[in-house]
Symmetry: C2
Subunit: 143 residues, 2 copies
Amino acid sequence: MGDHELKQMIAAADAAINCEDFDKVMEFYAEDATLVVMPGKNATGKAQIRSALVAIAEHFNHSLEVRQDDLLVIEAGDTALVLAKASIRANRKADSPFVQDRRATYVFRRLEGRWLCVVDNSYGTELLVQPPRSGDHKLLGST
Amino acid sequence: MGDHELKQMIAAADAAINCEDFDKVMEFYAEDATLVVMPGKNATGKAQIRSALVAIAEHFNHSLEVRQDDLLVIEAGDTALVLAKASIRANRKADSPFVQDRRATYVFRRLEGRWLCVVDNSYGTELLVQPPRSGDHKLLGST
């Protein structure tokens, strides 16, 4: 799996998120993609996803650092399920750094010769056990 | 999520697996689908998947009972990531029933007007932490 093109692509997407280059980030998504912003809250389509990513960056005081490790790609024709250990770090407040490790699930489709993210769910199967946290909805606005 | 058409469809697929109606089971898969037979071992395409399912049924002495609960569907255009609590039960041997609960990940695509399974990974993100168990490969043959 070391050299799968999706690995480089996901690393590039993370780099773009970490430097808040949202134009670049959006190039990795399909037009009708869905991002799980948090449990119970999805953003669908590029406009909603971009707004959500901007809100998340602000929420974390522009200190977000995301990274994926140990990627595992399960391909089926022009579709791929990608599993990864996602690391999310941020210094939201000086006295309480945000540190979260997740087992993420992403779905990619090969469209017009290149892979695009159609489902971005960094929470993975935790969504099955994690009830929506109403406080977070407020923090991230109403995108 | 209670009435999503994928919920009924997945229940019907499970019912077909439980009564070993493999012709019926195969109707739920896309031609180029991938089934994670076990960590480290995938079956790709209908022929391989059918062989794997037949081998699994034999391995479990024709006593397999699978069920999905708490389905969560994340749709993005004609693609859907489905998360579910999968229950796998079998009486492989009279003195050691097989009981496993998993958090499964399935990818479906709407092809020619109906949803078909393209990635069947009942192990979910456990694949990120669970090394392949070489003994199981032998048990399930070389499909």
